[in-house]
Amino acid sequence: MPERVLRLPRLRLELRTERSGFAIIGVSIFAVAATFAVAVILLAILGKSPVRVADAFFVQPLSSVNGLAEIVLKTGPLLLIAQGLAVGYRADVWNIGAEGQLIIGGIAAGALALAFQDSNSVLILPAMILVGAVAGAAWAGIAALLRVRCNASEILTTFMLSGVALQLLYYLVTGPLRDPAGLNFPQSATFGDAALFGALIPDTRANTSLLLGLAATLVAYVFMERSVHGFRLIVGGLAPNAARYAGFSEARAVWIGLLAGGACAGLAGVGEVAGPIGMLQRVLSPGYGFAAIIVAFLGGLHPIGIVFAAALMALLYVGGDFALVSASVPTAFTMIFQSLLLTFYLAGALLMTYRVRVVPRNVRVTP
């Protein structure tokens, strides 16, 4: 029987020799578009009008001063935490417990504010910032110590420490730090004015703690993109064997990665308790510590990309609030929206490091 040869196209992945700026931006746009497409389908199933939801997510937050101020307010902690986490992630150090480090930072700063409640000193806020950063870093430092000394996976320990931090907060606000005049509500007394961040936009909740996020961005940029220490971390993450051969210390990378993430998350905690909340209570963060993981990836783990990703994520948070009010979309939806964004980003990220080539393939067929 005569043999025929068919030339069939076949997809092949080729490693890119340099990163393509077009692909990086394209993948982010793809992730947003795909997420939105799935969201529309989901909403249709739930019987919500996609137009009203789109209005709530993208028009309402951007069309009022208050909406914009809320975006600024929520960009701050996301930006801070994501910058810190990205330092670790690029070094292959996986801190997923930023939520707990945020809580510990908030507790430490809050305890200080409560101890000096009647003080009008201008030093109180800087002291809270310092204490919060140190406390957050120390909490992450436990995981670093366990990783360096006992070889325990930081992925698991940072998560578990988050659970412990939350229970510690519950204990403190129902016990030692509860406001004696607060009718047994699980919350502390409100902080004095000297212990609060000033308003950034008058008559809104947006406050000057955003500056901490911008400062972290600057530091992260200089450290990761312009310093030898940052370069060592990146090499350790991309090529651990090469890093070891070059004598770059792995333990050092673990310490830097976790302490940077912990300090930034601790600062974010200060920003929350000394910002919109103004006291200690059971809920200090609507999941910023976890959302910031998504922000870090969506920003390509790059200090500049993270700025845009943080603003986008903040928009999602605020949009979620608006959607709850105007279209009664459940809050779970915001969580689904966030995770889909990361899912599609990861699915598309392939195209940032690889190029898809169509190559012909010969297939012999015997009829």
Binding site: A152, T157, F159, M160, Q167, M335, I336, T343, L346, G348
Partner: protein, 302 residues
């Protein structure tokens, strides 16, 4: 006595989830989305069981929903070559979101739980009767799963193939095994088990639905795989010891010794951290048991 009795039921979700995750990790994939998959399994199982009145359908639906999530995870890490930690977190969060959405109409509802069996009519024998012969069917299934996975990795060719894929995927591919397909099957199996574990939690153990029901068990399941050094029997021992410790605390409290409830809630995490640090100290032992390619991206044409 009471402790052993309660332990078996309380540990069944952990047993299913961690043995499922063990199979996934043995194939070289780290799936951190167990918590989210358990939550989805729990919510879907509760919803379906409530709507249809059938616990069997509930278990099936919960397991399938979680497996569906795990297949999305598999697509990310196997086809899109995504970082396994990031993909696990993404799908885990997705699972938590889905569970909150699905479970919302049922928040606070209860359900008639899974009936206890009476094997050989011996469940009423004092002391050992209820423990050995009077558990529900999922407890026995969990024990069967220990036996089955032990047999799989000790005695079967399939077990060897899965191990080869997890230790040396390139070599496994070169001798003709479809690495990606095998890994996908393992991931889906892990999803099914996590879903069953979650379903058991919602429709048998607590017999109620509340958001946050899983409460970190998915993460503890991942840690238990490390405790058990990727061996079914050792993982099972870890699961039961873990269950016994948490119930011991409850009985201490029952004796009237005051412990803040927050400490009780935090203690599973603290226990996990301490044990994890202790077990991981012996780096050589861990390296010997840990699948060599665990967490590494594999390109089938590379």
């Amino acid at each position: 006595m009471f402790i052993i009795l309660g332990t078996l039921g309380a540990t069944t979700p952990l047993l299913f989830a961690s043995l499922g995750e063990m199979v996934v990790e043995r194939s070289g994939v780290l799936n951190l989305s167990i918590e989210g998959m358990m939550a989805t399994g729990a919510a879907v199982a509760f919803a379906i069981a409530t709507l249809t009145g059938s616990l069997t359908l509930g278990f099936a639906a919960g397991a399938l929903a979680a497996a569906l999530l795990s297949v999305i995870f598999g697509w990310l890490v196997l086809a899109s070559l995504a970082n396994q930690v990031a993909a696990g977190l993404a799908i885990g969060l997705l699972g938590l979101g889905v569970s909150a959405l699905v479970g919302k109409p049922f928040e606070g509802n209860t359900i008639a739980g899974l009936g206890k069996l009476n094997i050989f009519g011996l469940a009423h024998v004092p002391v050992i009767g209820p423990i050995l012969f009077g558990q529900d069917i999922m407890v026995y299934s969990g024990i069967a799963l220990i036996v089955a996975t032990t047999f799989l990795f000790k005695r079967t060719k399939l077990g060897l193939i899965i191990r080869a894929v997890g230790e040396a995927p390139t070599a496994a591919r070169d001798i003709g095994y479809p690495v990606v397909r095998i890994r996908l099957c393992c991931i889906a199996f892990g999803g099914l088990m996590a879903g069953l574990g979650g379903a058991y939690l919602a429709i048998a153990y607590t017999a109620l639905w509340a958001e946050g029901l899983v409460a970190g068990r998915g993460w503890i399941a991942v840690a238990l795989v490390v405790f058990g050094s990727w061996t079914p029997l050792r993982i099972a021992i870890g699961v039961y010891v873990f269950g016994a410790i948490s119930l011991l605390e409850l009985s201490i409290q029952g004796l009237g010794i005051y412990i803040p409830s927050q400490f009780l809630s935090a203690s599973p995490y603290i226990v996990t951290i301490v044990v994890l640090a202790f077990i991981s100290r012996d780096a050589a032992y861990l390296r010997l048991n840990r699948p060599l390619a665990l967490g590494k991206v594999f390109r089938s044409d590379g």
